[in-house]
Symmetry: C2
Subunit: 457 residues, 2 copies
């Protein structure tokens, strides 16, 4: 039922894009009779699709062929399913962001009114300059920039502060992009060990700094720690670690890929010199997008402007920033972030409620005997690593579909986003699900367990 | 007239996004009566808007308030105007790309079926792996990757091949992002002088190589030349320059930001070790996006995979590429490029016709006494620098609106994209305009001239 209605919604959107294309092809003096005819034909299709949506899919004897864009199938999992994918849920676009990319999808769509000094963050129409000021306030950082993903923010900071052969301290649960940013600069990662609870502490960080100093004769050039890690979604002591960094005079980068945009983040309160966030992971934005907050202390280095002069032409390029390679998100990516921003600013205030929902679901999840939560408990985040070796996997061992039976049971109940076929240890994320969806999700997990004879407490 | 119809097209698209949002909020078990009611209300609005579009805007006594997305105004210049903006025209999305970002706007939308080895270019659903193979064939390069803009491709190559203090040869008409990529790596640009015709030749490049060798005792680490430059849209001798590079054994990067996606480009025929293109500038894609073609000779360096090992955890991150920082365009940007690609592959075959239209327009343009083309003549590209100091600017000198009178005259005729207020030297680009639009555009320029008493030959 939902299927056809969702599909017809896409069909109607696409037919309207066909109408829009006719306006694009037309002369300012107006449409030709032929173009007018095409507009009417497309609008008639829209009417038809609307009728089918209204009829609830009931009046279509047979399913229409699946809508495609050329060879590309449309993506309907957010409309048709509850998605618990570990990295997708907080990057889902808001309706405002979806509208913004409809309006601002074209290549350099931010550049209509670009004037001196010709830099993205100085454009006032659309209000990109104001957005940057708001973004800095939101992070409580002195300055803010947008970047093509959190990884490009790591790269900018590492490239500006770290020399070849330097050490950079990361968490032993650091995301791979931190490794790559360090490797790209020719430096070396030094991991802070996690404790038995899979937590990175301030003490362990201080010890690691001492170890690096002892072994290399030099302090690490940067400390870069994930507030919540990608593996367990555990909280690490960024406040304590920031103090350690300060004591040693080492710059501290707070990796907020799993916080900025979903939970309150305050750079000054944390004591972070840099705050990095991900647009497509946690700010309801089109990929690749990210944010970088910088303190005034480090801005002159990390946000330094070009000094290169052409030896022949004597050209210089104004105030373009070297590490950002000038302008960064000059189109739909940025506009999606800006359009989602009012919602994002509000939703971070409801973080506690999101965590409560996560805990509620996982309490129900653990009622199935043998199902475990591997992340810290109770949860302080919506991303969680679970272990179903003792529950759903016991079924997989003898099921003809192996682990895929579990994915199929979930899909039948309208749930996607787990790693297909995985029934031992895997990750899920409940961010953004309503209480109704949380309860539905909980019931689905229990239902599958009961169906396959697992004990439910 | 067009205005209201265009606006109502956006309104209808946005109302359908509201419908879509209700499906997103609903449970897999179906809509609640309240949600059902909201769907019906939004669909009723769509019907109303369609009615207004069909009525041609005639039945609306007063103009409706301008559609906004929160505080953001919608962008309708592609629907309502002929756009001749120097950098926007070949980045306009195709209808297919617009549909693709409607379907794939959500953050990590490419990752639904990401499996081992967990790399963007290996994803088979949607067909990202096949697209990469096609892209390599399209460029006639051994391998291809997507990047967040051409600048990030320059950065990847420079970072991999150039050491601090090295020299990199660029054109004296090089784009600023090449300067920044070199500066970011701590190297130094050395410009090849342009000749009196604003062309960079193979001989001048060879001389520059010799000069660098003489002065620094070392060959340049890289030669990076724009096939058509951003300033004049003049063609530079990349074929000859590639030969020079080969003779000296210096890697050669072909900057195709103004060719890849609009004109045929063949890396092997050119003799380029690297081909760089821009998605948002020339491949009808959402920003930031770009492409990098690499020869098998240099792939092991530029596309090298991570070797970093965690000192505590012994973690390694598989085949993630260091210079690309792992995955690059993991959402709507890439999908827009893929959706436009069939059109892009066809349109490059019509490049000669695009150039003919450009020349036709500029012939008409030069009928106004005092209007000059500063780019090479006849044009080999659609991007052109013009000088109207002797024509339209003579009017501006005494006009109460100064140079803005000219922009206003153009806007009244449905033309935008010139640099507002500029009446001396400025740039325009006719790429993608139909013959009808080219003729309309030509007539508009002549008409403005006549109106203000300029001589038209």
């Amino acid at each position: 039922m939902a299927n056809i209605r969702v599909q017809r919604t896409f069909d109607a959107l696409f037919a309207l894009e066909d109408v829009r294309e006719i306006f694009r092809q037309s002369l300012p003096s107006g449409l030709t009779p032929e173009q007018e005819q095409k507009v009417r034909e497309s609008l008639a299709k829209v009417r038809e699709y609307i009728g089918e949506i209204e009829a609830g899919g009931a009046n279509t004897g047979t399913c229409p062929p699946k809508t495609r864009i050329g060879s590309l199938e449309i993506r309907t999992r957010e409309e048709e399913y509850i998605n618990i994918h570990p990295i997708q849920v907080a990057g889902r676009l808001t309706p405002e962001a979806r509208k913004a990319i409809i309006a601002y999808g074209d290549g350099y769509s931010t550049c209509d009114y670009c004037r001196k000094p010709f830099r993205l963050d100085r454009i006032t129409r659309p209000g990109i300059e104001d957005f940057h000021a708001e973004l800095a306030r939101f992070l409580n950082a002195d300055q803010a920039r947008v970047t093509p993903g959190a990884r490009r923010a790591f790269q900018a900071v590492v490239s500006a502060l770290v020399e070849k052969g330097d050490s950079v301290i990361v968490s032993s649960l650091a995301h791979y992009t931190e490794f790559l940013a360090v490797e790209q600069a020719g430096a070396i990662v030094k991991e802070v060990p996690k404790n038995e609870k899979n937590i990175v502490t301030a003490d362990a960080t201080a010890e690691k700094v001492e170890e690096v100093k002892r072994e290399t004769g030099k302090l690490p050039a940067l400390i870069m720690i994930d507030h919540f890690d990608y593996m367990f979604g555990n909280e690490h002591d960024v406040y304590g670690i920031a103090k350690v960094a300060k004591q040693y005079g080492i710059p501290f980068l707070y990796n907020g890929a799993y916080t900025v945009g979903i939970a309150p983040v305050d750079a000054k309160k944390i004591g972070a010199d840099f705050v990095v966030g991900s647009g497509h992971k946690s700010m309801a934005s089109v990929a690749p997008s990210g944010v970088l907050g910088v303190s005034n202390e480090y801005a002159p280095k990390v946000l330094r402007t070009t000094q290169m002069v052409g030896d022949v032409t004597k050209r210089k390029f104004g105030i373009k920033e070297v590490e950002n390679l000038g302008c960064t998100l000059m189109g739909g990516t940025l506009l999606s972030m800006m359009a989602s921003f009012p919602t994002v600013k509000e939703r971070v205030k409801r973080w506690d409620e999101e965590v409560r929902k996560s805990n509620y679901f996982l309490e129900q999840f653990q009622r199935v005997e043998g199902s475990k939560v591997l992340s810290e408990w109770p949860r302080k985040h919506t991303l969680t690593k679970v272990d179903t070796t003792g529950s759903y996997d016991t079924v997989a061992r003898t099921h003809k579909r192996r682990g895929f039976y579990f994915s199929e049971e979930l899909a039948e109940r309208g749930i996607v986003g787990e790693f297909a076929g995985a029934t031992k240890t895997w990750k899920l994320n409940t961010y953004g699900l309503s209480w109704e969806k949380i309860k539905y999700l909980s019931e689905a997990f229990l239902d599958i367990a009961r169906k396959h004879g697992l004990n439910v407490n």
